[in-house]
């Protein structure tokens, strides 16, 4: 019962943040609602016995991605004004299609009889995660490291202001 109450509180955070993102006209508030949703997700991960993921969620999503988005909004401030419309012409179409997709997905997913397991969850997920990352998942782990490095170098090159570049030509 306690778990259900906690679940409802976090659902309020997650879905309330999501609704806030799509309804507010001020993009800055959208980004703040995004960090609300992401914090609620961290609570979900704790309920699902994934403590490490909850920490990663707070550090990477709330601490890095949400802040990065806030910075990008402040750097491109002109679109932040709330008096011009923030939505495009296909809003009504999306407002019809999205609930339909929601119902269709739920009808399909809730019909399936998942092979639920009643085994007790492992206490030490962090140990299992570490062993898996350096064991059977070592190749994807290294690939994702290289991907992150390449993406960040690429992001720096893309965002660099070349007009004020006084260094040697490269």
């Amino acid at each position: 019962m306690t778990e259900q109450i906690i679940f409802f509180i976090f659902t309020l955070l997650v879905l309330g943040g999501g609704i806030g993102i799509v309804t507010t006209k001020n993009l800055y508030y959208s980004a703040l609602f995004l960090s609300l949703t992401l914090s609620g997700m961290a609570g979900y991960f704790v309920l699902l016995n994934a403590g490490f993921l909850a920490a990663v969620q707070v550090v990477v999503y709330v601490g890095a991605i949400a802040i990065l988005i806030l910075f990008a909004i402040m750097l491109s401030r002109r679109m932040m004004t709330a008096d011009e419309p923030q939505t495009n012409r296909q809003t009504w179409l999306a407002a019809i299609v999205s609930p339909l997709l929601f119902v269709a997905l739920l009808v399909v997913v809730l019909q399936i009889n998942w092979p639920l397991s009643t085994a007790a969850p492992t206490g030490d997920t962090l140990l299992l995660l570490g062993l898996s990352f350096l064991g059977s998942y070592v190749i994807p782990f290294e690939v994702i490291s290289v991907l992150l490095l390449v993406a960040l170098v690429g992001a720096i090159i893309l965002a660099r202001d070349t007009s004020t570049d006084t260094g040697r030509k490269g």
């Binding site: 679940f7 997650v14 993102i21 997700m41 993921l53 999503y61 994702i144 893309l158």
Partner: protein
């Protein structure tokens, strides 16, 4: 077994996905489209971890994939925001309807 049925998690994940889809489809600002994308990636993460917890509670395959999703989302956000900043500097707009020179 926990007190929360699996269907609740699936419902929340679906709702979050649809909200993200709506934000992605309707918003004009490129950064708002990116926020919608992050919502959809997060709803996938709920599913990964919930199915991990309810179907294979003594393994961590779903959590590992969730970590991969978070890493890819971080890389994607960095590159996307760099492109948005570069576009804003060059064209003084972040409206996705104005950035259509690659449209066929």
């Amino acid at each position: 077994m926990t007190a929360i049925p699996l269907s609740w998690w699936v419902t929340v994940a679906t709702a979050l996905f649809v909200i993200g889809l709506y934000a992605t489809l309707t918003r004009k600002n490129a950064i708002a489209v990116l926020i919608g994308l992050e919502l959809m990636l997060n709803s996938a993460n709920i599913n990964f971890v919930a199915f991990n917890r309810y179907i294979t509670p003594n393994q961590v395959g779903g959590q590992i994939f969730a970590v991969f999703v978070i890493a890819i989302a971080a890389a994607e956000a960095a590159v996307a925001l760099a492109i948005i900043i570069a576009t804003y500097r060059r064209r003084a707009t972040v409206d996705v309807e104005d950035i259509d020179s690659m449209k066929f």
